[in-house]
Symmetry: C2
Subunit: 224 residues, 2 copies
């Protein structure tokens, strides 16, 4: 049976991606999640649930030690002492939530797993809303990285890296996911990782907006 690797965080985008791929390809799936010491470990719990629900093999790769090293620069996502900026994702201040080179690191490891297991592709859930905040979510990055990985593994791997949602907005992703029955109340976005979504941080604002634009009721339980 053909195999596919999917990077899943337990958030909305990658959960939808998993459903989308399962719907299209009769493959054997291996989901990979990365624990890089982020505060939102809740997201990881939803990733574990997702894999169980879709009957996929699941591996959690710890990059905690690496996260500690990188947090020297004060990247918010890996430093529990920093304040998380509130407000819309698009704000300049959100740039500080970038973990240096995160997508390259995850894609390189995922490609290693794909080569080891002979998987046809590595799929990741970047979308158009991320482009202007995260340079490593842009099509030009994914294309260049895919080229590099194909050179890196020439003769050992015929696969590739795909990002099916890279030209979609988050609202488009919600539409895809609703049609596939993605249980969005079992996905996590909030940076704070409390019992409920805070409703105020950048990802919470973005999450609400996506449901609103897509024209669906938001099933998320917010703290406010």
């Amino acid at each position: 049976m053909q195999k596919g690797i999917v990077i899943v965080s337990g958030g909305m985008d990658s959960s939808t991606l998993a459903y989308y791929l399962e719907d299209r390809y009769p493959y054997e799936w291996h989901f990979l999640s990365f624990d890089y010491g982020q505060r939102h470990i809740k997201e990881l719990q939803y990733a574990i649930e997702l894999a169980e629900r879709l009957d996929a093999k699941h591996s959690v790769i710890s990059l905690v030690a690496l996260g500690e090293m990188l947090s020297v620069s004060g990247s918010v996502l890996v430093d529990p002492k920093s304040e998380v900026p509130e407000g819309h994702y698009a704000e300049e201040s959100m740039k500080q939530t970038v973990v240096p080179n995160r997508n390259s690191i995850m894609l390189a490891i995922a490609t290693g797993v794909a080569v080891a297991e002979g998987a046809e592709f590595v799929a990741a859930g970047m979308h158009a809303g991320d482009h202007f905040i995260y340079p490593d979510c842009r099509p030009k990055f994914v294309d260049a990285f895919n080229t590099a990985e194909q050179f890196a593994n020439e003769g050992f791997w015929d696969g590739g890296i795909i990002a099916p949602f890279i030209e979609m907005t988050k609202a488009d992703i919600v539409k895809v996911g609703m049609a596939l029955g993605v249980p969005y109340d079992h996905t996590w976005s909030c940076y704070l990782g409390g019992a409920y979504h805070c409703g105020k941080c950048g990802t919470c604002v973005e999450r609400k907006e996506a449901f609103e634009i897509a024209g669906f009721d938001d099933p998320t339980a917010y703290a406010e």
Copy 2:
């Protein structure tokens, strides 16, 4: 002070690279070594020594859990149960010593560190003798990966990935290192990781040959 990141394994090539860069640039250095569960932990001890000798900051990044996952496919370097093939590096059988996507993984992490610390470059010690065994040691890979990493970190990092020895043979590297006083008896090549170099495995054969071609006495203590 400007900073540089150097990937050092404790082998001949990266040890020479460290000396070469220290000689050329008055930078603050951060050496990175990767422990991916390989048997030749001796190499890592020499990397630690190297950093002490050159007064560089040194971090060892453990990819052991990842190595275990990737060893599913039976890659010799991470599977303690496999036999190490003897003979010249160039042999087809040595292909099985490739750890899937190793250079991409190391370079992606090293680039993350470079971005976090504002380092001007990430340097790695690939050389021409590796090209036809390891596709991820070829200039076309390094160039493509460097392009991808620059896209990935646009606006956050002005650095690049360099591989100063990529067109040199191992004998050329020995010549460079002898001129700089690299203590090659404090570098490690052997895949077996015994008390002495075995003198028979692919890397030992390649090591001996490099000194011979370069016209220097080989200071290595071999078991034979």
